[in-house]
């Protein structure tokens, strides 16, 4: 019985949150990695692109809630995602037209584009704060739990409860659907194949008649959609705050680099590596160890390796380890 309790506690506090968080990071890292593969620079504005898309979705959600529209047990925000995607797409396409295109035509060095994306990040961040404000906003509604801790305890008779939040289930399902669609697009459609060709070898792709502007356009479309979906899922799971989305940049980049920049499969793996390490290292293991070890070995302290304030340090340390031992990432990045 103790063993089962231990497993349930582990699932409740580590596995489920880490899977949900990992899916959100993976979607974010996919966006970063796509930009890197096609446009060949690290997009520092990605976190704030997520914030802008999410902001539009949040505002739409509030509007829908005001009109009395609801999805029943599901959060209304799901209906608002397409609007958020439209908003984010419009913004990134405008940015590309008026900012990035100039440097692309000049064949500027990647580091210049990184600085430019930093300026774009400022502007997006300012926009978000001016339009919606800098505070914490909650916009999740509908049924909070699929299984609440109490129901689970009543059902199984175990001491430990297992809470499964609606947002966590939605996150995982949406992430799987989006990733499947993305891979189908990249591998099976003509446009997707041209994107991969462009990423592999730009000159060869141009010679074989691929229109670079079209590839770039489609990339931005996909990136804006991924960013919005990732942002809305993260916001549903936790809450929406402009500064948090800026801070997400670090774990997202860590995920993309750990997996190998430019490699979509790596981005997903990286997202989960980062999420599991972050949750695992900042979780107090006392409870789980208490169930799984004999009473004489039961730990006295919390057995928490790092306090939760240092969760960014975890992604950073993993990043450093990967840079030291395998700079190309786990999946040999650099091509799509």
């Amino acid at each position: 019985m103790d063993f089962l309790n231990g497993i349930v506690a582990l699932a409740n506090f580590v596995l489920i949150p880490a899977i949900a968080y990992g899916s959100q990071l993976a979607l974010g890292a996919l966006g970063v990695t796509l930009i890197y593969g096609i446009l060949r620079f690290s997009n520092f504005a990605h976190g704030d692109t997520m914030a802008v898309g999410t902001m539009v979705a949040v505002l739409t959600t509030w509007g829908l809630q005001g009109m009395g529209v609801s999805l029943g047990p599901l959060p209304t925000a799901l209906l608002a995602i397409p609007v958020g995607i439209l908003g984010a797409t419009a913004l990134v396409l405008l940015t590309d037209k008026y900012v990035y295109k100039f440097y692309r035509a000049q064949k500027a060095k990647p580091v210049i584009l990184v600085i430019v994306s930093m300026g774009v990040m400022f502007i997006y961040n300012g926009l978000t704060r001016i339009i919606i404000g800098p505070d914490d906003y909650r916009f999740a509604d509908g049924e909070r739990f699929v299984i609440s801790a109490r129901t689970f305890r009543d059902m199984t008779g175990l001491e430990e409860g297992l809470a499964l939040r609606t947002t966590q289930v939605i996150t995982v399902i949406t992430a799987i659907a989006v990733v499947a669609a993305l891979f189908w697009f990249l591998n099976k459609t003509r446009t997707g194949k041209s994107m991969r060709a462009f990423s592999d070898n730009e000159d060869l792709a141009l010679l074989s008649g691929i229109n670079p502007e079209r590839v770039v356009l489609v990339t931005w479309l996909i990136v804006a959609s991924l960013a919005t979906v990732a942002g809305v899922l993260y916001g549903l799971d936790k809450s929406f705050k402009a500064f948090t989305y800026f801070q997400l940049l670090l774990p997202i980049f860590a995920a993309a680099i750990v997996g190998g920049l430019g490699n979509p499969l790596g981005a997903i793996a990286g997202g989960f590596v980062i999420a599991f390490s972050e949750v695992g290292i900042t979780y107090a293991w006392k409870k789980v160890l208490g169930y799984s070890l004999p009473a004489s070995l039961e730990p006295e302290g919390l057995v928490q390796i790092l306090s939760t304030e240092y969760k960014f340090a975890v992604s950073f340390v993993i990043l450093v380890i990967v840079l030291l031992f395998r700079p190309t990432g786990l999946f040999r990045g650099k091509s799509l």
């Binding site: 680099i257 390796i305 840079l323």
Partner: protein, 429 residues
């Protein structure tokens, strides 16, 4: 000529503030402008001279601030008795663990290598936490409302400035060692990360510098206003200038700070100029412009990059120590990447990357704008909303959003300069 004119223009802006608003705010802008100019010099050394992209300026600045606390605050005796030795021992053990792990990694091979290193790290971590945690608790329990930390060394505060540089240099060495020699984007991400972590440490390690409880009342290198006001000789002299004692004392203190900062800035500027024009500076620029060619000429690119990265970060650390001295307090909660990293970047790029005088000019100019954009934005918003009825939702929302105008303005300035005048106001020669 252009240099002189532009510097004169910035001087006019600051003097204008003095005449139109008050001399106190003008001097405040001047002092922070001097500090910003030092930071910009550091970043310019890295970016302008070597093409290194450091997005962690905030972290190095914060380390400088930490140095002020560690050097100048009086030690808290009770806290040292409670757990000072334990903390020192714990930190030494932690460092020893890392050294041991590195040794195991480099001396062994095969299966032993991975498992051995992991075991050393794990055992070391456990011992480290067992020694450190109780001492930390003991220290933090000592008079938490006023102390709850180890305090500093009680040395003169000016000593903290070079120490701040040393701390920043140490952090830069660790980062540079891992991320330099790889793609340029990796350094950016690594520095972004280390800055966030340094701030997290400052916020959470209460035994070190009281965390978010802030250390206030840091010793000052200049006299206190109150003492000046009680000094009859000073009051008399102030009266001679036709000023009342209160204003005169605040202005005098700020002038003295400005004098100290100016000395530092001039020294660093002269050194930077000498470095720029020396064979070393030419080599750095050669590496920046064509790494492959420089490597072919037998230059050790990674080592040179590490060198200049450490130097630039040290300068940022010195500036951070100066800033904390000026503030008289260390408030880890107030460090934000926008203000301490990206603003400095805007200064360097607007001023002219690769030109030391340009960086200094950018430091003054952008700091002036940073301070003045808010009142201007407020004025603008008041004009826009003038036609709206009072108390409407939109009006108050727009007025509230003025404080976020800075982000937008800074981003816009950065993009416009990069697009229209990428070489900056004072281009590299």
């Amino acid at each position: 000529m252009r240099t002189v004119l532009l510097f004169a223009a910035v001087a006019c802006l600051i003097l204008g503030t003095g005449f139109l608003q008050s001399w106190n705010s003008a001097l405040l802008i001047l002092n922070m402008g001097l500090i910003s100019a030092v930071m910009a010099l550091g970043v310019n050394l890295q970016w302008g001279l070597a093409g290194l992209f450091n997005v962690g300026v905030m972290g190095f600045v914060a380390l400088g601030g930490l140095a002020v606390v560690l050097v100048s605050m009086p030690p808290v005796g009770a806290a040292w008795q409670a757990g000072g030795g334990g903390i020192i021992l714990g930190l030494v053990l932690g460092a020893a663990t890392i050294v041991a792990a590195v040794l195991v990694w480099s001396r062994t091979s095969g299966k032993l290598r991975g498992w051995g290193t992991a075991t050393v790290l794990l055992v070391g971590m456990v011992i480290y936490r067992m020694v450190l945690d109780p001492s930390v608790e003991a220290v933090e329990a000592v008079d938490p409302a006023l102390a709850g930390y180890l305090g500093g060394l009680g040395l003169p505060v000016l000593l903290a400035w070079p120490v701040g540089g040393l701390l920043a240099a140490g952090a830069a060495y660790v980062i540079g060692k891992t991320a330099l020699g790889l793609r340029s984007d990796y350094l950016a991400i690594a520095t972004l990360g280390i800055a966030e972590i340094i701030i997290a440490i400052l916020k959470n390690e209460d035994w070190l510098a009281r965390g978010v409880k802030n250390v206030i009342g840091l010793p000052r290198p200049v006299p206190y206003e109150v003492d000046l006001q009680n000094d009859p000789a000073f009051v008399e002299r102030a009266a001679g200038f036709g000023m009342d004692a209160t204003t005169a004392s605040t202005v005098y203190v700020k002038l003295e700070y400005g004098f100290l900062f100016a000395i530092v800035l001039v020294i660093l500027l002269v050194l930077a100029q000498l470095a720029l024009n020396s064979p070393w500076g030419r080599m750095m620029r050669a590496i920046r412009d064509n790494e492959t060619a420089a490597r072919a000429m037998g230059k050790d690119v990674t080592a040179r990059h590490l060198q200049v990265f450490i130097l630039g970060s040290a300068i940022c650390g010195i500036a951070g120590a100066m800033m904390t001295t000026l503030d008289g307090q260390l408030t880890p909660g107030s460090y934000q990447p926008l203000r301490y990293t990206f603003l400095i970047w805007v200064m360097v790029i607007v001023g002219g990357s690769g030109n030391n005088l340009g960086a200094v000019l950018g430091g003054f100019l952008i700091w002036f704008l940073w301070v003045q954009v808010e009142p201007i934005g407020h004025l603008l918003m008041s004009l826009i909303t003038a036609g709206m009825a009072d108390g409407t939702w939109l009006k108050s929302h727009l007025l509230d959003s003025v404080q976020h105008m800075r982000l937008l303005t800074m981003g816009l300035i950065l993009l416009l300069v990069l697009r229209l005048n990428p070489r900056g106001l004072l281009p590299e020669r």
